[in-house]
Amino acid sequence: MSDVLARVKKIVVEHLDVEEDKVTESASFIDDLGADSLDNVELVMAFEEEFDIEIPDDAAEHIQTVGAAVKFISEKTG
């Protein structure tokens, strides 16, 4: 498991208070993990803090799944 995925998972588990095995790459924050729009904003801000990157609003809109977050962050930090 990539380092980015592990760190993203940790943030999602902590923030949304969900079981780790539910946080798969295809899991949607809203549909599968019970997030609301405010959670999404908070997750994006948590990712920004954890990886020391900036995620613009138009990119944030497309980060709806764990995998999308990992992909975006990997590209930014890679």
């Binding site: 609301d36 405010l38 908070e42 801000m45």
Partner: protein, 245 residues
């Protein structure tokens, strides 16, 4: 009731009459308080008066970046930030036809924009903590209007609308946002009024007296308390009955 033991609070404009009273009251209720203002000397005086559980951070609210940084500095000093009281405000009065651009802009910037910046910066920690209190000190004239104060009234009405939106956004996270709207409060400015002017003001106040900083501070302490967790998006008017809204 209304204990603030173990809570941390940031009060802007703490060197003014109302701000000082708010800082003293929150401190007396047990909170650790960060006082902010532009006059270092006044801040030091108040800090010395309150003794323990007090931090002072000078901040010029005209400087956007400094305002953005203030809640974080306060949180670092106190180990958290549970309560934000945006109290600082200025007036640049004049009839609208003669109002200069800079008088409009400065009042909006200090009174309204800094409230936005402070709230935005304070929210992050509050959302994480699932607890927070944002309290804006507005004014009765933000609801009633006042000739010669179009800029001030716009900024104070703006604070109320801002607070209602914010309250809806964060209510599900245990964070409340409310305003306190003072009426006529005794201050060096009201002390300077002559008897006739004073009489004219009092005739509009059913309580027949000016309010005090402590009257405002008590309302803030209530809204800051755990007991007020179900009160959000509201404006608490403290004005001796001069406006019943």
């Amino acid at each position: 009731m209304f204990s603030l033991e173990g809570k941390t609070a940031l009060v802007t404009g703490a060197t003014g009459g109302i701000g000082g009273a708010i800082a003293r009251t929150l401190h007396a209720q047990g909170a650790t308080v960060t006082i902010s203002g532009t006059r270092q000397e006044k801040l030091d005086e108040l800090k010395a008066e309150l003794g323990e559980r007090v931090h002072a951070i000078a901040c010029n609210l005209d400087d956007g970046e400094a305002v953005d940084a203030l809640p974080k500095q306060a949180a670092e000093a106190m180990g958290g930030l549970d309560i934000l009281v945006a109290n600082a405000g200025i007036t640049k009065d004049g009839l609208l036809m003669r109002m200069k651009d800079e008088d409009w802009q400065q009042v909006l910037k200090i009174n309204l924009e800094s409230y936005f910046r402070l709230s935005r910066a304070a929210l992050r920690g509050m959302m994480k903590a699932r607890h927070g209190r944002i309290i804006g000190i507005t004014s009765v004239v933000g609801v009633m209007g006042n000739p010669g104060q179009a800029n001030y009234c716009a900024s104070k009405a703006g604070m109320i609308g801002f607070t209602k939106s914010l309250a809806q956004e964060v209510a599900a996270r245990g964070v409340t946002a409310n305003c306190v709207a003072p009426g006529f409060i005794a201050s060096p400015m009201t002390d300077a009024l002559n008897d006739q002017q004073r009489e004219a003001i009092l005739s509009k106040i059913p309580a027949n007296d000016l309010g005090s900083g402590e009257d405002i501070a008590a309302a803030v302490a209530y809204l800051a308390s755990d007991e007020a967790h179900y009160v959000t998006g509201q404006t608490l008017h403290v004005n001796g009955g001069m406006a019943m809204i």
